[in-house]
């Protein structure tokens, strides 16, 4: 269930670094494409994210979540930082769906990431629908509180309340899941 690449990356094992790239390259690239204004920026972001992953590999704790979730967290941090820096200066346009030369040699080992994504969707289903919607609009679509209020026709304060409650509830669910997995010996 849980990958154990990051602890080996933390020891400086070059084979683990290669494995990390093969396993999580697609995940990091997909996230960068969602956040970045253009292809060149997404490329820069991916390089920056991988350096951050390698630097923070030693902090990964399998007792608190999967590697895919941890890597997504690191990627989000870098991407949000970049987004905020950019939005201070520039008017952005959405990322174009341009065709890129994807690696034919790269074996995208997606099964485990798909599994993690399915687990994440299950957790999301346990939230109240309005909490789920607000979190999706905020975290995935990057809408501001007032934009979400407009889209959902909820008062501004209610948007914030749903976002807080949903995320805090999700945190509790993840903690309970990890405890259950430990108890079950998984």
């Amino acid at each position: 269930m849980t990958q154990t690449i990051l602890p080996r990356v933390a020891t400086g094992d070059p084979a683990a670094v290669e494995e990390c790239l093969r396993h999580y390259g697609g995940l990091v690239w997909s996230l960068a494409r969602r956040f970045c204004a253009d292809h060149a920026e997404a490329e820069d972001a991916v390089q920056e994210i991988f350096i951050a992953i390698w630097r923070n590999a030693g902090r990964f704790d399998a007792g608190r979540g999967s590697e895919a979730t941890y890597i997504t967290m690191i990627a989000r941090r870098r991407l949000i930082d970049r987004y905020r820096r950019r939005s201070r200066d520039l008017d952005t346009t959405p990322l174009e769906d341009e065709l890129v030369d994807s690696s034919s040699s790269q074996h995208v080992e997606q099964a485990e990431i798909r599994e993690e994504a399915a687990r994440a969707r299950e957790q999301m289903q346990r939230l109240r629908p309005e909490e789920r919607r607000v979190l999706e609009l905020s975290i995935d679509h990057g809408l501001s509180q007032s934009e979400i209020a407009e889209v959902t026709e909820m008062p501004l304060g209610t948007v914030k309340t749903h976002a807080r409650r949903g995320l805090i509830r999700l945190r509790e669910l993840l903690g309970a899941d990890v405890r259950a997995a430990k108890g079950g010996g998984a």
Partner: protein, 94 residues
């Protein structure tokens, strides 16, 4: 069990959730920094991990692979950061 500690923890969680969703204004960021100083053992990453879960849940079923040129650049970076270990146990390139 309720008391100042519990309400401070609740407030810390709220601010972490705000930061992970909409970002924080500088005043709220200062408040968060202060609360983190008073609760150094609090796992602040846990809220960001929850936000990462939302992001993971929304990923498309098929992830796009890294473009080959970019993959090569990341691999080159890795060689600088993680030089291969020679048979004698010493690193190359440093």
């Amino acid at each position: 069990m309720s008391g100042p500690w519990q309400s401070a923890e609740k407030r810390l969680l709220q601010l972490l959730a705000d930061r992970a969703t909409f970002g924080l204004e500088s005043e709220a960021q200062c408040e968060l920094d202060e609360l983190r100083r008073t609760m150094p053992d609090f796992e602040t990453d846990s809220v960001e991990l929850a936000a990462a879960t939302v992001q993971l849940a929304r990923l498309p079923a098929a992830l796009e692979p890294l473009p080959s040129a970019l993959e090569a650049k990341v691999r080159a970076q890795a060689r600088v950061c993680f030089p291969p270990i020679s048979p004698t146990g010493t690193s190359h390139g440093e």
